[in-house]
């Protein structure tokens, strides 16, 4: 008896909710529901292909998410969109390819590490490339902040924004001078073989995809621990909430901001190397498009919100893959940005809200 009453009241509440909602949001829910149903029909028809595409989307999305974190982290603290971040990511991939080549400034340090090297050397090479790129990009990001953003901290927002765009071009041109205008190839250190080769042929999941997840997840956990669990993380949260009050409490604001940029740069370096190893090529203007996607992901999830950046990135990856499979490659950008516009129309603060990254990052 009571259960039916409860069910009834819940139903009534739902009905009230629908009555209270606007036509536009009802329409949006209907569209999303229709799309999900269409996708599910496809999934039932050819589950193997659907799962393969889903996995491709998650992997591509994970890379975007890692870049997006850099945007969102910095935005959460200084409310600046660091446009140079995408190009720092490109520099990260260049650093990675240089480390693997074993030669820098004409000096040969060790033999190039490529597809022919032994398994142990490959692993060491990948870890070395990641670490060097993370350090280099972290320092570059801190340097950019010190040189280009810090002196402008009290100027109008627009001035810093233009400076950020300027830094983006400077880094891009440095990349152009360093490695030239062509796509350059990354050594194939990670196997292209399918993990499920012996089990099923329907689903393609390569060691490369696993590699991306193996790099991304620890970085996410580490970042989240740093912000929630350490003293420095607490300082970051405080600075994000109120710079002046934080300074009065004895927090070194400048250092805290530098740390945020350092973290952003480290993520950019890691994702740069990962991108190169995963895709096999990199190019000097890579940062623009990938940065744009990552920035979109950050806005989609709610800028300043760490969980939001990850959700946004993976969502963009999945939408891209599904669109490639079922609609057509030439519509990918149209679809991704249509989704962005729709999300912003109905949830102007992004999917998870733009709460500051450092207040613990997301989670309602």
């Amino acid at each position: 008896m009571t259960t039916t009453q409860e069910a009834k009241s819940r139903g009534a509440a739902l009905l009230d909710g629908i009555k209270a909602s606007s036509w536009s949001s009802r329409l949006a829910v209907a569209i999303v529901a229709a799309l999900v149903v269409l996708l599910l029909i496809q999934a039932v028809q050819d589950p193997g292909q659907f799962v393969s595409q889903l996995l491709i989307g998650i992997t591509n999305g994970a890379i975007i998410a890692l870049i997006a974190l850099g945007y969102t982290l910095v935005y959460g603290i200084v409310e600046l969109i660091n446009f140079a971040h995408g190009d720092n990511f490109m520099i990260g991939s260049f650093v990675g390819v240089t480390v693997l080549s074993g030669t820098f400034l004409g000096l040969g340090f060790f033999a190039p590490i490529d597809a022919g090297s032994g398994a142990g050397i490959k692993i060491v090479g990948v870890i070395l490339a990641l670490i060097v790129a993370m350090i280099a990009c972290g320092l570059i990001n801190v340097g950019i902040e010190r040189i280009a953003y810090k002196p402008l901290r009290n100027s109008p927002r627009l001035a810093v924004l233009i400076t950020a765009i300027g830094m983006s071009f400077i880094l891009q041109n440095l990349g152009l001078v360093w490695k030239g205008p062509s796509q350059i190839s990354f050594p194939g250190l990670i196997s292209d073989a399918n993990i499920f080769a012996g089990i099923t042929d329907a689903v393609a999941y390569r060691w490369k995809d696993l590699f991306v997840i193996l790099v991304t997840v620890p970085l996410l956990i580490g970042l989240s621990y740093f912000i929630r669990g350490t003293r420095q993380g607490k300082a970051m949260r405080a600075v994000a909430q109120d710079k002046e009050a934080a300074a009065m409490m004895g927090i070194n604001v400048n250092r805290t901001i530098s740390v945020a940029f350092l973290l952003g740069g480290i993520l950019a370096g890691a994702s740069g190397v990962m991108f190169g190893l995963f895709n096999g090529t990199t190019v000097f203007d890579l940062g623009f498009r990938q940065g744009l996607y990552a920035f979109t992901a950050a806005v989609l999830g709610g800028i300043g919100n760490l969980t939001g950046a990850v959700v946004g990135g993976i969502l963009i990856g999945i939408i891209g893959a599904m669109n490639d499979q079922y609609i057509g490659v030439r519509w990918t950008d149209v679809v991704i940005f249509t989704v962005l516009i729709l999300v912003l129309v109905f949830r102007p603060r992004g999917l998870l809200g733009d709460r500051s990254a450092v207040q613990g990052g997301g989670g309602e």
Partner: protein, 421 residues
């Protein structure tokens, strides 16, 4: 009467010169220069090439070839003193040709009456912008590298080629075979290799889309089933989803119509990565990816790719072509000859001969005269063999070639002869 007028003008000129000299002292040369002009006919030719970005190496050989052609004539086309200006239509940022630069180059050349001939451009997309501008100016163009069909004849998009020629008069020619021939060569080659179905990708540029249309027609005409057609985004991070989708269709071949700079390397990497090795599913592309940059970007994945070229590589050229190769290597020992270089040389020579003929016929060099002589070129005996421009400004050459990537280098696989339509 005429003599008296000249005398009057000269007197005025001298008076003006004295006046100017009297006033400022520096302007004196200007006045006397006016009197001495008109003895030596001079003319300027320009080349318009993407000299930045990854096709730089290839395009520099073209500028070299034009220089060589001029040096061999002592910078004279008959009695006409020639000046040569090499223009760049690429930007460092884009790493390839840029629409704004193409338009700007054409507009400034259109203003400069001294310019009577135009060599290039290389990219068909750039040509689509430049031809209408230069058409209004009546400037003769000869391209070494544009292969999009629609530039000269129907078969491309609706409204082509008329929309490139607002004056209704043709001003554009090319020494390289158009894509309809290259597509026929590609389809013939695929069918020789036993291909029964193909998936076509294009890079959504003028050249890529036109080439893809042509290959689609030729493949269907040859009895090869076209499983699908997709336009890719040249800046995408990867094409894994697309390749996973194509792999489902089990094609015998994947054809990429586009240029290296639109991520051709990544396409092959992802094709192979999706389980379609170059042995099982052959990869064919056109001239747009016949450059080192493609092999550099794709790495091992490029191995075994098939690439068609709208002409013959230097090694297959007739005797005069071989002599050119020797002269080129002697003059530019540091520059590696590209398959297109001979076409740049031929374009320069055919233009210079047209200037010479125009001067001999008219007694002066005008854009009109050069254009008339250029389009009238018939049975031209050059480094590419003996050929003519047809009524559309296209070459009558019918020998094309197919290259394969082996051990990280392009290697001539075969010469493919196509029929004239």
């Amino acid at each position: 009467m005429g003599r008296r007028r000249v005398g009057t003008i000269m007197a005025l000129g001298v008076a003006a010169a004295l006046f100017v000299a009297g006033c400022g002292g520096e302007g004196g040369e200007q006045g006397s220069g006016g009197g001495g002009g008109g003895d030596d006919p001079t003319a300027t030719i320009v080349s318009d090439l993407p000299l930045q970005g990854s096709s730089r190496a290839r395009q520099e050989t073209i500028a070299n070839a034009v220089t060589l052609a001029l040096e061999e004539r002592d910078y004279m086309a008959g009695d006409v003193q020639i000046e040569y200006v090499s223009q760049d239509d690429a930007t460092a940022q884009a790493g390839k040709w840029d629409e704004a630069r193409c338009a700007e180059n054409a507009q400034s050349a259109a203003q400069d009456e001294e310019i009577v001939g135009w060599i290039g451009p290389y990219n068909s997309g750039c040509a689509a912008i430049q031809i209408p501008i230069l058409n209004e100016a009546g400037l003769a163009m000869v391209s070494h590298g544009n292969t999009a069909v629609g530039l000269t004849k129907p078969g491309g998009e609706p409204g082509e080629p008329e929309r490139y020629y607002p004056t209704g008069e043709r001003n554009y020619t090319r020494v390289i075979a158009a894509d309809d021939k290259q597509a026929r060569a590609g389809a013939t080659w695929m069918s020789d290799l036993g291909v029964q179905s193909v998936y076509i990708l294009d890079d959504q540029e003028t050249f890529g889309v036109g080439m893809a249309d042509q290959i689609q027609q030729s493949a269907e005409a040859t009895g090869i089933q076209v499983l699908g057609r997709e336009g890719i985004d040249g800046n995408a991070a990867n094409y894994r989803s697309l390749m996973a989708q194509i792999a489902q269709l089990n094609p015998d071949a994947i054809y990429f119509a586009g240029i290296t700079q639109n991520n051709a390397g990544q396409i092959v990497i992802d094709k192979v990565g999706a389980g379609m090795s170059n042995e099982d599913v052959l990869f064919m592309g056109s001239e747009g990816i016949l450059e080192e940059a493609f092999i550099e970007a794709a790495g091992d994945a490029a191995e075994g790719s098939y690439i068609t070229f709208s002409g013959l590589p230097a090694s297959e050229l007739p005797g005069t072509g071989q002599e050119f190769v020797e002269r080129y290597q002697e003059r530019f020992p540091d520059s590696e000859l590209d398959p297109l270089t001979a076409y740049g040389y031929e374009a320069a020579n055919v233009l210079l001969d047209a200037i010479e003929n125009a001067y001999n016929a008219d007694g002066e060099v005008t854009r009109e005269g050069v254009l008339r002589e250029l389009t009238a070129t018939r049975d031209y005996d050059g480094v590419l063999g003996t050929w003519s421009f047809d009524e559309n400004g296209d070459t009558t050459l019918t020998e094309l070639s197919g290259q394969r990537v082996r051990n990280g280098e392009f290697e001539l696989d075969r010469v493919i002869t196509v029929e004239e339509t």
